[in-house]
Symmetry: C2
Subunit: 427 residues, 2 copies
């Protein structure tokens, strides 16, 4: 029989922060982290969250999540966006800005923090790695674990990134619904519907629009990927051909589409009647090209934040994976791991089977996962069967939030501040 | 005991058509019409639908809905858009264009049609009235019943118009979700989110954005109504004040907002770098005003067709009322009524209690229901309690469609054509 002292761990507080653009399910990961930490009080004291992401750590603006009742933490699972606030703030390298990294270590020491859970994309994986390296160097043990999150789906190794599946579902559902609308109106009115979606560098989200069409519900869809240089003539020929055959078509265009000169199609140098520059989206530009080139009536929509905050139509698969990543991060910490990220490992696509794995942060940081060329159809306007096989499982299942009075009941936490112990720090 | 011959009605076919912009629930009304007609075979033969609305009647392009299995007709209840096609085609007055009205009567006679169910807004109510008047005049008995539908909610007498409640729910839910997103990002990034919604003449849909905020989930929201002349300085002062107090705010702007000169704010005379006119939305215009006036970072979205086709988040109340209006139209016909429209009669707001009524078409045609002034808050940027009391019941309840593989399973009917009997007719 083992002595208790053999297995006893020193109880340490944990730090958790949300980074970059938020998603419909990043709070599900937060829920996974906090609930799992609460179930392991022998190892974890309080989970202290950074208010507005890593800025909260730098400015010692910490939120004591132990003040939140279990029910409110559970409600994070169905609440979109970042419950503790996020930020767009990239730490420079320790060589360029050692001051910030040292401050992080100081704050962690001052608040007895032994675990650093950082929930974000590629940049935050890199920050996480550097915190781990510095903590080792200065002899302050901090287990740094990255929790994957990005609607852009561009993290390597993991099958997909939590957040993406729900955006993909929103875009697929919305494209199907709006296409039914256009089809109804096509005889005398709108024949082309253009939907602008996110994804400045990679066409993962645009590709999801292709899921709207399948064998039981065929829909003529043109996808404009950032990976494919926009060719106006070929685009117009494609739209013309689809409208001739089906009376209508839908166009799903990525915000990142570029012309042959490499310029964003959205950047048309628009000026209003007074000569003021105007920032438009790419959807009206594409719609205008259709009008001028083919004389067809169109409608266009820009989904913007609606697509990444649409918890009401989140993918059940995505919610489960987001939660699993949060839980796995804490379990990796419990197992003594450092400088790692939990991953989703796909075992099978049909039926979709996945399990939790992990990867060293050194293999994740600064690696961007692009769409494979074989996911885009030969004409550049659609997705292939291989792409469909990859994407389809990620939008499976519905996970509706609770409603009251017709509206989803999302939680807003108390977010009580932890008392500060250190001098002020200027960002 | 009454002789059967006393109660026997002559069995006649019914004509049904969808008119104008479609909605998430217009097919629920179609379902109500067809299912109720099928339950009363003593009175109703086939329901013949106009392909692409009234154009189908004029061109004798009729769809035999009796070829569709019961399960597919039932599926219309959860399928958005117009299953038989709609059209934007306004008949002129019989004085100006007697030819079209006479053609309608001829087609109805040729296909033994004794009932005319027309599912649309104000224009179609007017057409319905005129068909009824002409049929009487020429001695061809046609019972003309209008089935109310319009996302704009501008039909008089009825408590609300089927289609509106689901748009209202979509806008309320989306505004709440996107606002949570902006709130998360506000520390270092986006502080103002602008959502453009439909409603060129009346602010009903924009008002629904106000429901996103309530006592349990307060959200700083500015609503820009078409009823309120846009005043840039007052708008900027309002946004500035909200952002100072809450760090962020959301703006819900109606496409119909006008400046002091009466011009649409959306119509900024945009030209691209080549001098080509570009049609933008009002959301980017408002966002640009925020950027230039306050220097705040923003995001903007244009919901367009997504808002009116979003059956996935339809209001249960709206679906039930849409179906009830279709059913009631047939029941009114059974009761021998002519030239009427079923209505929704509100008995109580809290709890919401309603019943089906009816109104003569002469009281509906050419009357537009505007937002009452007392529904807009004194500063012109929000909704009053009276407005909330009116709107809140309309978004109550969820009525999710069935899903397969992560996507809603919407039905596409066979839409088999009825054999033509008349000479061709040129529109």
């Amino acid at each position: 029989m083992r002595e208790e002292s053999d297995t006893a761990m020193a109880t340490k507080n944990a730090f958790y922060a949300q980074s970059g653009g938020v998603s419909a399910v990043i709070n599900a990961s937060a829920c996974g982290v906090i609930e799992t930490a609460r179930r392991n009080p022998e190892a974890f004291g309080a989970v202290l969250a950074g208010r507005n992401g890593i800025i909260g750590a730098l400015t010692e603006d910490l939120i004591d999540t132990s003040k939140e009742p279990d029910a409110d933490i559970a409600a994070l699972r169905h609440t979109p966006s970042g419950a503790f606030g996020s930020c767009r703030y990239k730490l420079k390298s320790p060589e360029q800005n050692r001051r910030e990294y040292e401050r992080l270590i100081q704050v962690f020491q001052a608040h007895d923090i032994g675990y650093f859970f950082y929930n974000g994309g590629g940049d935050s994986a890199d920050t996480c790695l550097k915190v781990s390296q510095l903590s080792e160097k200065v002899g302050v043990p901090i287990q740094a674990i990255h929790v994957p999150k990005t609607v852009d789906n561009d993290l390597p190794v993991t099958d997909n990134c939590p957040g993406f599946g729900s955006v993909a579902k929103y875009i697929a559902v919305s494209t199907r619904e709006a296409s039914f609308d256009v089809r109804s109106m096509a005889k005398t009115s709108t024949k082309v519907f253009v939907l602008e979606v996110m994804g400045r560098h990679a066409g993962w989200i645009a590709a999801a629009g292709g899921l709207a069409s399948d064998t039981t519900t065929p829909i003529p869809i043109v996808i404009l990927f950032p990976e494919v240089t926009f060719d106006k003539d070929r685009f117009l020929a494609k739209v013309d051909s689809l409208v001739r055959d089906h009376d209508y078509c839908s166009v799903v265009v990525s915000e990142g589409v570029r012309d042959v000169a490499g310029a964003f199609l959205a950047d048309q140098g628009l000026k209003d009647a007074f000569g003021h520059a105007q920032l438009g989206g790419v959807a009206p530009v594409v719609a205008n090209i259709v009008r001028e080139g083919l004389g067809l009536k169109y409608h266009w929509a820009v989904a913007d934040y609606l697509q990444r905050s649409a918890r009401h139509i989140a993918s059940k698969t995505d919610v489960e994976q987001a939660y699993a990543m949060g839980r796995a991060a804490v379990e990796l910490a419990l197992a003594g791991k450092n400088s790692v990220m939990p991953t989703i490992v796909r075992r099978s696509s049909q039926p979709y089977e996945w399990e939790v794995g992990s990867v060293a942060l050194s293999e994740v940081a600064n690696v961007e996962k692009m769409m494979p060329a074989e996911f885009i159809s030969e004409d550049g306007f659609g997705i292939t069967e291989a792409c469909r096989e990859y994407l389809a499982p990620l939008i499976q299942g519905e996970d509706y939030p609770p409603y009251s009075g017709g509206l989803p009941q999302y939680v807003t936490l108390k977010n009580e501040a932890v008392e500060k112990k250190l001098p002020k720090f200027e960002l």
